[in-house]
Point group: D2
Chain length 336, copies 4
Amino acid sequence: MRAYEIVAPDGIDALKLTDRPSPEPGHGELRVRVHATSINYRDLMIVSDPVARGIPYPRIPNSDGAGEVIAVGPGVDRFKPGDRVCGCFFQRWVDGDVTPEGMASALGGAIDGVLAEEVVLREDGVVSIPDHLSYEQAATLPCAALTAWHALVPKGRLKAGDTVLLLGTGGVSIFALQFATMHGARAIVTSSSDDKLARARAMGAWQTINYRETPAWDARVRDLTDGKGVDHVVEVGGAGTLEKSIASTRVAGHIALIGVLTGGTVNPVAIMRNSLTVHGIYVGNRRMFEAMNRAITTAKLEPVIDTTVPFAEAPAAYHRMRAAGHFGKIVIAMDR
Amino acid sequence: MRAYEIVAPDGIDALKLTDRPSPEPGHGELRVRVHATSINYRDLMIVSDPVARGIPYPRIPNSDGAGEVIAVGPGVDRFKPGDRVCGCFFQRWVDGDVTPEGMASALGGAIDGVLAEEVVLREDGVVSIPDHLSYEQAATLPCAALTAWHALVPKGRLKAGDTVLLLGTGGVSIFALQFATMHGARAIVTSSSDDKLARARAMGAWQTINYRETPAWDARVRDLTDGKGVDHVVEVGGAGTLEKSIASTRVAGHIALIGVLTGGTVNPVAIMRNSLTVHGIYVGNRRMFEAMNRAITTAKLEPVIDTTVPFAEAPAAYHRMRAAGHFGKIVIAMDR
Amino acid sequence: MRAYEIVAPDGIDALKLTDRPSPEPGHGELRVRVHATSINYRDLMIVSDPVARGIPYPRIPNSDGAGEVIAVGPGVDRFKPGDRVCGCFFQRWVDGDVTPEGMASALGGAIDGVLAEEVVLREDGVVSIPDHLSYEQAATLPCAALTAWHALVPKGRLKAGDTVLLLGTGGVSIFALQFATMHGARAIVTSSSDDKLARARAMGAWQTINYRETPAWDARVRDLTDGKGVDHVVEVGGAGTLEKSIASTRVAGHIALIGVLTGGTVNPVAIMRNSLTVHGIYVGNRRMFEAMNRAITTAKLEPVIDTTVPFAEAPAAYHRMRAAGHFGKIVIAMDR
Amino acid sequence: MRAYEIVAPDGIDALKLTDRPSPEPGHGELRVRVHATSINYRDLMIVSDPVARGIPYPRIPNSDGAGEVIAVGPGVDRFKPGDRVCGCFFQRWVDGDVTPEGMASALGGAIDGVLAEEVVLREDGVVSIPDHLSYEQAATLPCAALTAWHALVPKGRLKAGDTVLLLGTGGVSIFALQFATMHGARAIVTSSSDDKLARARAMGAWQTINYRETPAWDARVRDLTDGKGVDHVVEVGGAGTLEKSIASTRVAGHIALIGVLTGGTVNPVAIMRNSLTVHGIYVGNRRMFEAMNRAITTAKLEPVIDTTVPFAEAPAAYHRMRAAGHFGKIVIAMDR
């Protein structure tokens, strides 16, 4: 079976398409024929510079995949051949708080990922795909959607009437917009593109801010919220957004600190003075994924796919993400 | 100003329409011209048998009122004449858990209620009315809506994809249906009336069960939930429903135990064996009311009013409730 | 290897001492040489009437055992031969809320238990024994101690200064007394024996009540708490205690509903009126067990052992429990 | 009555001892004869540079006072003359999350403080003093003790067996040490003084680290915790400690971010990668204070007083704090 491998620290175009033997599922494991995978900024960073991220190679990249169970190892009782499944980002984080063991089981990082025709996953590390979703759609869920869900629902305890600030229109932010709307909350979305903001409004965003036109977007957020600030921020911003995010948050509000985009530094005094809660969010566990899928099923949520590229042209997906012009998720589909 | 008073233990038709001097607001108090009041089963029970409920009389009944601030006492800074407000069921429960002091401040019970042309309320004991609601609509919120909100949101941590069992189509259940739908959850509603069930479906109920036709409605609930049971029950049922409610709940699920309707007894073993959480819910505090109003505003929720009767015919409202044919709330409007 | 089996519905004296082949650990499993087991009221009930509890036989009883790992199956990486371990009551409940799958993995109930010289356990279903504890002491932990911990700590969020009502001096109650004291809380203990009450006071109980001398012990509890009632009840009582437990609890207080002793019925109105939270508690998960063991280690807690009987005389342990004269745990030690 | 006032931006020695008329309690207010006040770093900062903190003057400094009720205004029913009380740091934060209104009611900041012979406080803004405490001891509680309690108990959900990292031996840290010990947790204390560390150990600290001798104290903390890191950090450190505090915390651990000492900046990536929860803690509400006092009463906790200076020499207290040689609290006692 074919797979892409990181084989050198030379970035996207050094990804090597190789042929590997079909993997055998061990005890409690499944062999899954991958139908689609989606990429996240984290995957781009790993592919671009595996050394900086401490990733040994050869390594198959990507955490997010969806496919069909085609064989099961001994002791498997949760799934059978023919089942449609998504792999969990963390193969060994089923429930409760994350542990070091769970963190050491990230697909496409600590262990081989899913940019391959076939993968072996733990039966404890996959979930069923909602019936109304295609494999391409399902492949968008494991990292970006679950991160947004974890941030807003189990950690944020989002409720109807809350106000949520979303930075940009990448995968996490767009899912967060959908989850916020689904819960009756009001989302404020920022972007530098009026076109993207129009799309966000069409999806239900309550207010939008072009941060290029309104560099003091934190002041604008406060204006929109009667001077109080938002209840939640899903902070996926690059260097420098965190200070403004904090300034956009109400007293005793909540900031979900997400992702590898977040750089820069923050002065902790504002966190203290305003009695904020900051949660570091790193994807989520399988139970959260299952709960999210029930919500997705109930709402018949359709993930927003920016682009689908064929497996043979997988590197184009990373280039598309690097160009940062996308809205929603970038998917790589198998050539079947 | 005119007011109804309980003056004897003789029930609805003994309510006496009297004339009282206009009340003076003291420090931190407001005088409110009542525009509408709604009734709850608890009000019916108090009017019907004040002695059994330990209510001294003369006593003005009813907890739920909406009106306009017409005067403020010294020290008031949260409201001014002309503001549209609802009174809080508990005049002295602003935030956090309820206390004995809070419990001793229930309108229309421990202290005089709102079935009057004018009332004096604490400024800490009222909330602003959402702009899109009339006084009649706003008068439905203080007890029934807040009870449903408290049960599902702060206590139940309701989230999208959850399943909620609602018993009957009284005020609390209909608000719970609206709040469940608002959060992307799926509601199962029971009733003995197919007509009411049709109305519930039109409002977004996911499934309905005629409990007269399906006496083993708990088994039906389990069938509808793949054998698992629901995540939440809003238990407002009369004698005998609690056992079936417990049997309808998933392992580690949540039962909100509400209200004066709940009689009968329960065998605690099932609660233990299934690791259930049971919350006794007795209306809610002012912060919850404010949060609920933000949700109502965001969703432009319209309370379901069954009937509006004029102040002069207030006893008819209680008779309507006693007949138990209503769907949603029964409102008494001032004759203006 | 020798093991006791339930082979007939005839009670304690029908337990049969048999010889079974030494069990082989499969993938992810450990073979453990049992050094000690303790019994719980649930074990007595199962042995006494397996049919009523739905237990098929032959079945090895008892959930609580401590021993030494003597062999490991393939794929094991958390333990190695020589490690001292306790089995978890639920072999498949590692973290988070209990699930139906977890509930179907109870030792000595759904699956064979530990009243045997050797057992095979899942590596995910055991925990390390605190260094300062003997096997006999460790064998008291899996059901009774973890139940008390789960009730008071993760569910009850016990804190210093809280008041806890404990019914009787069985295993759960005595551990609850130790955990309450460990957290700076005040425990009120009831018993019909002044001698047992004296022992409870010696262990740190703040107040004690002889419920035979003071049948209205709920009134006494309120007196002791300035009329307010306790913050927590660990309700392990037999028929009829629950009503008084509810009457002993403060407004917005917490009742942990435990165990097979709890019979009778309860009128739910008092739960609602007083805004109580009732948690059904059914032992706990492995992460709770690990956290509890850290607490036990920090405090150098010594479990209270009432009696230790040799393996050859195991039935005597059940008779001792049935006689209800014990204080703390009854242990069966291997004859080594 | 005499009071100290900030009358100029010139620091400690510009504090002016003045004579003011005895204040009259209004509706719901108490006049309190102050017996003792304690100082916090925040008070030192305000006195040292009121302009930078936005404090208008003349302003009576200090948030923490204890005294006796000597008169009550109309509408008061919670206290009476002769009652021993402490004022709450925030006069208008009774329960639940802090609000902007609550934040605008800080004694010795937004409003006049307690460095005076008499003060008027809201009856909703005071608590009873535990019987076993003197006024001097009680005066240490409102800011430092409540901050430590809020950080560890309601926010941190501290439990027995947890490990807590405490930075230095100022007021908050020493109370945190006492509360950690009270709950059966293990405290690691840092200081640059071996003498102070010896005192911390005598009070129950589990481990101590001289950060001057061990500049890489985060590595030492990890060594002490089997490489895992602590469960909680009470982060009161000056510039630069936060990065090391984060590095000292276990995966999914908790950092309470406290106080005006915290300067510098932090890279948020580590918070995200390790799934940390960071709570900004700004003293606490009255219900927390009441719960803390129950714990203090139960444990017969004795606050650690470094120095007591007489009212006439109040400036010496601030000089003592600025010198940073203290261990525990610095108290100013009335000259009676």
